[in-house]
Amino acid sequence: MIRQINRVTAGLIFLLVALIVNISYIQVFQAKSLRSQGNNQRVLLAEYTRQRGPILIGSQSLAESISTTDSLTYLRKYTVGSDFAAVTGFYSLVYGATGIEAKENDVLAGNDSRFFVDRLQQLIASRKPKGGAVRLTLNSAAQVAAMNGLAGRTGAVVAINASTGEILALASSPSFDPNLLSSHDPATIKKTYDALTADPQEPMLNRPLALTLPPGSTFKLVTAAAALESGKYTMNSVIPAPASIPLPGSDKTLGNWNHKSCGPGDKTTLKHALAISCNTAFALLGIKLGEQALYDQAKKFGFESSFTTPLISATSHFPTGLDQAQTAMSAIGQFDVRATTLQMALVAAGIANDGVVMKPYMVSQIMAPNLTVLQNAVPQALGRVMTTENAQSLQKMMIEVVTNGTGSNGRISGVVVGGKTGTAENKPGESAHAWFVAFAQTANGPIAVAVMLQHGGGATEVSGNGLAAPIANAVMRAAMKQ
């Protein structure tokens, strides 16, 4: 009987050891995957009890967590309402986080491994852990100017410091109030979210980054760059520019907007062709240069790649496998050419920065909970897109657009401004998209801007100069003041 008792005891101890082995497996090895399960409330609840760090621009806070008396402790407050929603995103109990709130969550929630020392200090001092802060590159005045310009319309604005890649404005219209989605009341959150997703205007769509549209005539900048880079053209090269051309391989023709030729003898200079946005000249130039040269030039500017700003942008495309007619249409930004507003701002930035495109970014500093700076962003070049001389030629051509061409609304007195208008044709019956890309030379280096108004922003008469250029103008002026 004693032997059996000993065996039973061993069996019982074995069962208890099995329990210990099992909980070790769950609490150590499985813990990470269990914590990352989507419906695990604990992770969110734990984040809410910790004071989430602020999102700052300069010394102004865009988002901060304020103490409440309810069980979730901290409420996320967006002090500027809907103006920065495309940047900050929201921080929702029900739908998780978006925007910077999502991309910099580890910092804001205080989970970042770089906070280790800080956390240790908090532990020793038995202070409640806090999140770190994120400072953005955005310029408050430029962003507000962009949002005011877009007010009541559907569109996007991106402004970039061309010499560094710092994003100064990233605006999307219509926008939404992230406060409502970040409330502590799940019913309010759900109601707001459902209303926003049901809205045909898509207020939660991040237009400057997520929406790719035909860039229209603004793409002529890329075609012009390709021409200059081919070494066969200068800005004063004379190129054919008739009133209309037959599209090879089809019975259609492509004409200029005023049905006239762009110069005497159906010829004009490259510079003048850009200034008056001559379709036939750039279409023929595109056929001459060929699909590959256009594709390569577009790719250098950033087409065919996605940017992590850290908000991730959609990839802009230049089509391949084109026939001559399609090449002609693509050279003027039609057919299947698709670009984000950010991408067109990068085209202007690359030209304005003497041929070097800087990597776009919007987080300038990461700060520990005690606001000591842990990381400063370092500007990085994406690469050279054209020679300095060619870039400066193209700058002169863009300045000509504003001073003597189609982009007159870009003018700012006392400031050198270059630009390019665009009106991207759509399917028949749909109004065109209005574009304006521009740069302004300031004491702190060039500022590049792209404005996109979807379907002309709702206007009946669509023109890049009439609708989009005034917004770009206001944004550049606002950005220059600081």
Partner: protein, 465 residues
């Protein structure tokens, strides 16, 4: 004169250390641990009530009284058992207090009335449990007397097991009928039935073990018993199935059958009984899976808890999230979210402890159970009568198996069945029954560790009153 001199000499030779002071020191340590836990809960949840200190001091006083009774009536008893279960009980109180605080906070946020803290009821039950613990030590001076009540225990045990089925007093909670309610008091008689049936099994098997050990035929080198001796096993199996079918109580059914198999094996020394019992268990489980929806759901949830995390899998998924949130060292008392797990105070208290005390804390708690099992087994081995051997290992197995079934269930090691975690879970019946169980183990350990001479004196006095 010379005779008495020899007796003194003999006595001295047999005198063993009673280790009562060690027990007292451990008991104080357990109480201090419980007080610390309580203070940490208060600090984290910012609650302080006078009731808290009354509860703590009250629990200390009643534990001290229990120690006094052990010292007087079972001086040679195992010194670890009482402090071990007291530690569990006090940790359980702290966790119930912590969950009360969560309930109060929720009521405050919702603007509803703050419910009466459950921990006060649990302290009251601890009081009753320890009074009965002392009563058992005083009333039952020799565990061998219980053998006289073999059949009485069996009959009363079975009646208790099926009491919840009686209309009028039976109570259905969460689909299982394991409660009776008389005059406003609810009680889970299955917990007491566990002890009574263990007494019955021990008494029954101690007389029948030689017959049941007879080998009829050999198969793969294992001797198998005669078919006509299968009677008791089949009866027990049917009994367990009835509990499962009529009361939908998977846990108690498994526990009772498990205790029986263990005792059958220990009594007869035949592994074949374990094999036959396991086969019957597997067959019964398969049949139950086929026949009953609730068993099927339990089993399917065990295999695929994340198939329906908001529905049938909710409990186990929340429990696993709790363990994951605790990680290695836990969130600390009052700093996790154990209230998100349904039934955190009862069946899922291990998950709450796992979250706030972490793997380290929960492992320590499971090691306390291992210590209790080891100490119970030591008493079972050392006691000098076969009935005592069987009763002690039966009670020890009852505690060990119950712990495995419930903790294994909430950690997804085995399918979830409803049982309370001994000494930790909220619930009076369980606490009271387990204190009685420990009192019996302490009584047997006293017999096991006391010097031979005293036992003989006792026996003589019993034979010649």
């Amino acid at each position: 004169m010379s005779g008495s001199h020899t007796v003194t000499e003999v006595l001295r030779r047999y005198t063993v250390s009673t280790r009562r002071s060690a027990e007292l020191a451990l008991l104080i340590g357990a109480w201090v641990l419980g007080v610390f836990a309580w203070i940490l809960v208060d600090a984290a949840t910012s609650t302080t009530t006078a009731g808290g200190w009354i509860s703590l001091i009250g629990s200390g006083v009643i534990l001290l009284a229990a120690h006094g009774v052990v010292r007087k009536y079972t001086p040679y008893a195992d010194p670890i058992l009482l402090p071990a279960v007291a530690t569990l009980n006090l940790l359980g109180l702290a966790m119930i207090h912590r969950l009360d605080a969560a309930n109060a906070a929720r009521a405050l946020a919702n603007g509803t009335k703050i419910p009466t803290p459950d921990v006060y009821f649990q302290v009251a039950w601890m009081f009753i449990g320890l009074v009965l613990f002392m009563g058992v030590l005083i009333a039952i001076s020799d565990h061998r007397r219980l053998q006289r009540f073999t059949y009485t225990s069996g009959v009363v045990g079975i009646i208790m097991l099926f009491l919840p089925l009686l209309p009028g007093i039976g109570n259905e909670v969460n689909g299982a009928k394991l409660w009776i309610s008389i005059a406003g008091f609810t009680f889970q008689p299955g917990e007491l039935a566990k002890i009574l049936l263990t007494i019955f099994f021990a008494g029954f098997l101690v007389t029948r073990r030689h017959t049941l050990a007879l080998v009829h035929s050999k198969l793969f080198g294992v001797g198998f018993p005669r078919i006509k001796d299968f009677g008791p096993l089949v009866v027990m199996w049917l009994l367990a199935l009835m509990v499962l079918v009529f009361e939908r109580d998977l846990g108690t059914s498994l526990l009772i059958f498990g205790i029986f198999i263990v005792l059958l094996y220990v009594a007869t020394g035949r592994r074949s009984w374990v094999i036959i019992g396991s086969l019957l268990l597997i067959f019964g489980a398969a049949a139950a899976y086929k026949m009953f929806g609730h068993v099927r759901i339990r089993f399917d949830v065990w295999l695929h808890p994340f198939a329906d995390p908001q529905g049938t899998g909710f409990q186990i998924v929340q429990s696993l999230y709790g363990f994951a949130n605790g990680g290695l060292f836990g969130t600390g008392w009052g700093q996790g979210y154990p209230q998100l797990v349904p039934f955190a105070k009862t069946d899922f208290i291990t998950s709450a402890l796992g979250e706030e005390l972490g793997l380290v804390g929960l492992t320590a708690i499971l090691l306390i159970y291992a210590i209790i099992v080891e100490r119970g087994a030591r008493a079972a081995v050392a006691t000098r009568d076969p009935f005592g051997n069987l009763l002690a290992i039966g009670l020890t197995a009852a505690l060990g198996i119950q712990t495995f079934i419930v903790v294994g269930g909430v950690t997804k090691l085995i399918p979830l069945t409803g049982l309370t975690t001994p000494f930790l879970s909220y619930g009076g019946s369980s606490l009271v029954a387990n204190y009685i169980l420990i009192a019996l183990l302490i009584r047997i350990s006293n017999a096991a560790r006391s010097p031979e001479i005293e036992q003989n004196v006792e026996l003589i006095s019993e034979v010649n009153p």
